[in-house]
């Protein structure tokens, strides 16, 4: 016989447990048997290619929203929904894109040139579109016939094909778009091996195999569950304990354990992006306002920026903070692949750095306020920079700042120096122009250099790849000399998966393509 309070406790506990399991059963019933579980490192945000601006959304889109173009394992552009690479007019102002026929959206409707036009127009005109700046040079879009789309450009714009190999090239089901409008992300419909099934909460997305996919024979997985697991250590243990089949962005600290685990495969690709120290050289009152003279010793004395750079040992930073798994870098461009500038990065030279500091005649130590995101790895990075710069006469105050505050400070120009990264894009222009052209929203540094601005324009209008490579190499050199951004490293992006998961497409863009993946054998 239980006393009343005891009964009460038991009853409440039982009730809560029943409630818990009921709710869970309603939402998370065992409907996802056989699904591949992929852990993402960050939330995807709204699953609408129009509005999306997160890296992880691109991993989900890679499996349910095909694009006009894609890249192959060598990061070469290949047609996906387009039948071939665009035919570009001699003046570079007209792009004719042939569209494949017989392809259906995941709601069963047919893909044609008109659908492509609708999507592109939506990207260009929708108020909430994050694609606008990418498609800015495109002035009009025509569906010449059901299988050809013609784009008219204001000026020649070489990155366009690459841009159409990313979110701007995703074709949305016109029916779904008309129906959902701004809420397209609640139930996105594109062409893809998998179709959107459910997003019960911001941390879980379920995709199911699409019956309408043109190549559905090659798709073996019944579906995919993407689960957001932000802490790298948790991702790693979840993979090892068996709850999750695939993880992305394994942390350097976990890499030894993961790669020595006989049940796991790992593959690391260098990021297309970079991490660097953004220095406020001209952002007076906002990145989209005209640049000017800021009250920052690092802006006033370029020599100090050089001294700061020379005080840093990129190799040692990589070794200490990232277990040597990342790649030291000093340019916005990738260190491998066709756009690699192959420049020699400055090495640590304390004597030179001291001399440069002394030449400014400023009293040492020179105080620098460095904003870093407030997670332990970035704080560690800040601390190492602080220790290295100290030898050259700098007093770096590491100011660990909550991430959104850091971005907000960056955009508004309320900072002296900050550590920020960029996830990288296929075309080098997309890794450079937004950060160097005046009035660009991501130009936190307030860069405005005539030479670089001209070179960026030249890069956009030049068609020949070899010529462009030279141009971007020049930009990289100029940027390295000016040091509005002191680039530090390119992250290594490691995918780790269970041995029984085969057929994952994991290329240099670090997206996870699961169209040909299968869960075979025993775990």
């Amino acid at each position: 016989m239980l006393s009343r309070p005891t009964r009460l406790i038991v009853a409440v506990s039982a009730l809560s447990l029943v409630l818990t399991s009921c709710t869970a059963s309603v939402l998370g019933a065992a409907r996802n048997a056989g699904y591949l579980v992929v852990a993402l490192a960050g939330q995807t945000g709204i699953l609408d290619p129009t509005q999306s601006s997160t890296f992880d959304s691109r991993i989900v889109f890679a499996n349910m929203c095909e694009k006009l173009y894609d890249v192959n394992a060598n990061l070469k552009l290949v047609p996906e929904l387009a039948a071939a690479l665009p035919t570009i007019s001699a003046d570079g102002l007209t792009y004719d894109i042939p569209i494949r026929s017989g392809i259906r959206f995941n709601d069963g409707s047919a893909l044609d040139a008109d659908a492509v036009r609708t999507s592109l127009m939506h990207y260009k005109t929708d108020a909430l579109s994050a694609r606008k700046s990418e498609l800015k040079p495109v002035t009009s879009i025509q569906a010449l016939n059901p299988t050809t789309v013609r784009l008219h450009l204001k000026t020649p714009f070489s990155p366009l094909t690459s841009i159409l190999a990313d979110r701007s090239g995703m074709v949305l089901s016109p029916g779904a778009l008309a129906r959902e409008g701004d809420n397209f992300g609640r139930n996105p419909v594109c062409v893809g091996p998998f179709s959107f099934q459910a997003e019960p909460n911001p941390d879980e997305i379920d995709l199911t195999r699409s019956p309408f996919y043109y190549n559905s024979k090659s798709v073996t997985l019944p579906g995919i569950t993407f689960r957001v697991v932000v802490q790298p250590a948790v991702r790693a243990t979840d993979l090892r304990s068996g709850d999750i089949d695939v993880i992305e962005q394994a942390a350097p600290q976990d890499l030894t354990t993961l790669s020595s685990d006989p049940g796991l495969n790992t593959k690391t690709v260098p990021s297309l992006g970079y991490t660097g120290i953004y220095i406020n050289v001209g952002n007076v009152n906002g990145s989209t306002k005209a640049s000017g003279t800021v009250n920052n010793v690092l802006a006033k004395y370029p020599a100090l920026r050089q001294a700061l750079d020379l005080s840093l040992d990129r190799v040692a930073i990589n070794k200490v903070v990232f277990d040597g798994d990342y790649t030291p870098s000093c340019t916005p461009l990738p260190t491998t692949g066709q756009w690699a500038p192959n420049l020699t990065c400055p090495t640590r030279d304390i004597a030179k750095a001291r001399q440069l500091v002394a030449q400014t005649g400023l009293p040492t130590p020179i105080t620098i306020d460095l904003l870093v995101p407030n997670d332990s790895l970035n704080e560690e990075l800040g601390t190492v920079i602080q220790a290295m710069a100290k030898d050259a006469g700098f007093d770096v105050r590491v100011d660990a700042t909550e991430f959104t505050t850091l971005l907000s400070d960056g955009a508004s120009g309320r900072f002296q120096a900050q550590i920020t990264g960029w996830s990288g894009r296929l075309d080098p222009d997309q890794d450079i122009s937004q950060f160097y052209l005046p009035l660009s929203s991501l130009n936190y540094s307030g860069n405005n250099d005539t030479q670089i601005n001209t070179l960026i324009d030249e890069g956009r209008t030049t068609v020949d790849t070899a010529a462009r490579r030279q141009i971007y190499r020049q930009i990289a050199q100029a940027a390295l000399a000016q040091r509005g951004i002191i680039y530090l490293y390119d992250a290594g992006l490691t995918l780790a998966s269970k041995k029984n998961v085969t057929g994952i497409g994991y290329f240099g863009d670090a997206l996870i393509r699961l169209q040909r993946a299968s869960l075979g054998g025993t775990a």
Binding site: S3, P5, L8, V12, S13, S16, L19, T20, S21, T23, A24, S25, L27, G28, A29, A30, Q43, T44, G45, I46, L47, D48, Q51, S53, T54, F55, A127, L128, S129, A130, K132, S133, N183, R186, E199, P200, N201, P202, D203, R227, V228, V230, Q231, A233, V234, T237, D238, S241, D243, S287, T288, E402, T404, L407, S408, A411, W422, S423, S441, L442
Partner: protein, 318 residues
Amino acid sequence: MTRLVLYRVGSALITLLLASIVVFLAVRALPGGPAEALSAESNDPAVLKAINHKYGFDQPLVPQYFRWLGQAVTGNFGTSPNSGLSVSSTLLNDLPVTLELAVLALLVAVVIGIPAGVLSARRPGGALDSVGSTGALAGLSIPHFWFGILLILGLSVELKWLPAAGFVPIVPDPLGNLEHMLMPAVVLGTGIAAVVMRQTRSSVITAMSSDYVRTARAKGLSEWDVIGHHALRNSLITVVTVIGLQLGALIGGVVTVEQVFGIPGVGKLTLDSVYDRDYPTLQGVVLLTALGYVVTNLIVDLVYSVLNPRIRVAGGAQ
């Protein structure tokens, strides 16, 4: 009595209303907004404006507040600009996870705290009491996130008995779910167990010197019947009260425990929504928490005032 109930309910409503105003204003005091957090990699001012317009964040504060409040009382907390999902459905999805964690933690607290309190109370100042009371102080002193790290080090990294982190839904895999929830529940429950133990101990000690316990002894009842039924039964009322008032500690603990063990519950949702400047979600979570706090207090208050006259006369509780 009716007057008292009305007064209490009225106070609770005022508290909630004030809390809703505070959270509404506080989230807007954070640097950056949902639009900025949302478009981290594009940051186009026109888009920011459009996002703010779509969700009504560009409206004057007063009508914005009342519109939100009007919807909130009907259970509609709006749409998260971050995920595009309805805040209510996200809350409903995450709440069971946290609820399960909380219930398991309370279970741990009760299962450890009450017997330990009773054993300590049997002989105050005795060896068992010294061990129990010091243990309770240790339980109060141990930072739970560190306790979590220690358990992970010991039980997962070294012994490999339990998964270090993560979450498995209860339905396809109840055993796996329990495996994942065990350490977090123990960690979260320890601090509460200490409070429960101390309250049980002091209530049972008070009860042990009461007349009715003497009566029970005089009837020839066994020690177990005397302590386990007569003394504990009356102590439980105060213990239950104290457990109710632990809700605040529970809410605070949930955030860190979910962080350490990577559990996707309300605690995680809360932190995420601060970081993402997800106004509607953050407002919803805080209002829900405040509601939980206010309702618990209201129930404890009312139950207590109903029970109190009788208890006070009986000398069964302080």
